[in-house]
């Protein structure tokens, strides 16, 4: 399940809803990860753009991997502005036993950072500033560049 929200996430409500949705599903483990916006370098918050078609296919591929292990992933993310000390991201894995869920949440969140088509901006003086230095080029990046062509020669 992939849920996108405008603005900050209502973390207690989402975690409770997910818990209740799967309470009778016979999963022995429910391991959530909650990402909260920290106050650093004077930012007022973060802002996010999302490209939904590719995010959805990326998430669906992970859900299939989880399903193969008897597990399930739920994810919530914010669109737009999220102020400091509020949350923009929740991922959770449900599985019959804890080991699968612990390993999956780690691998899932790492790949999320590198592959999910979401762009982050710092909010400084009410302006959005693209967080290029903290961003990761996706696999296959640079193929349109002339430099890439030169490297192949």
């Amino acid at each position: 399940m992939l849920c996108l929200y405008d603005g900050a996430l209502d973390v207690p409500r989402i975690l409770q809803e997910w818990y209740e949705e799967e309470a009778a599903s016979n999963y022995g483990a429910y391991i959530p990860f909650v990402g909260t916006v920290r106050s650093e370098e004077g930012i007022e918050g973060l802002s996010f753009d999302i490209y939904e078609p590719i995010l959805k296919s990326w998430f669906d591929a992970w859900q299939e991997k989880a399903k193969a292990k008897g597990a399930m992933i739920k994810m919530a993310h914010s669109r737009g502005d999220v102020l400091v000390h509020t949350s923009s991201y929740i991922a959770a894995v449900f599985s019959p036993k804890r080991r699968v869920a612990l390993e999956f949440i780690d691998a899932f969140v790492e790949d999320f950072k590198a592959s999910a088509p979401i762009w982050k901006y710092d909010i400084i003086d009410n302006q959005r500033v693209y967080a290029l230095k903290r961003s990761t080029a996706m696999v296959g990046s640079g193929i349109l560049s002339s430099k890439m062509k030169d490297e192949k020669k």
Binding site: K113, G140, I143, L144, S146
Partner: protein, 73 residues
Amino acid sequence: MIRVEFLGPIQKAPLELEINNLNELAALLQKDEELSTWLENCAVAVNDTLVSSLEVALKDGDKVSLLPPVCGG
């Protein structure tokens, strides 16, 4: 006609181009100085599927997306 979209922080309006493959697109976009840095770090999707080479034919109605470096969470 091929629609080319620039996602996230790339402040550029979509283009409608008469091109037959990604090699032609690369040659066209490399002439745009504003895009030179973006081309080095953008991934490319055709009809919302990421591609890893320029050896991709395009047909009328296809959509090409440029995806700059990401940072969710």
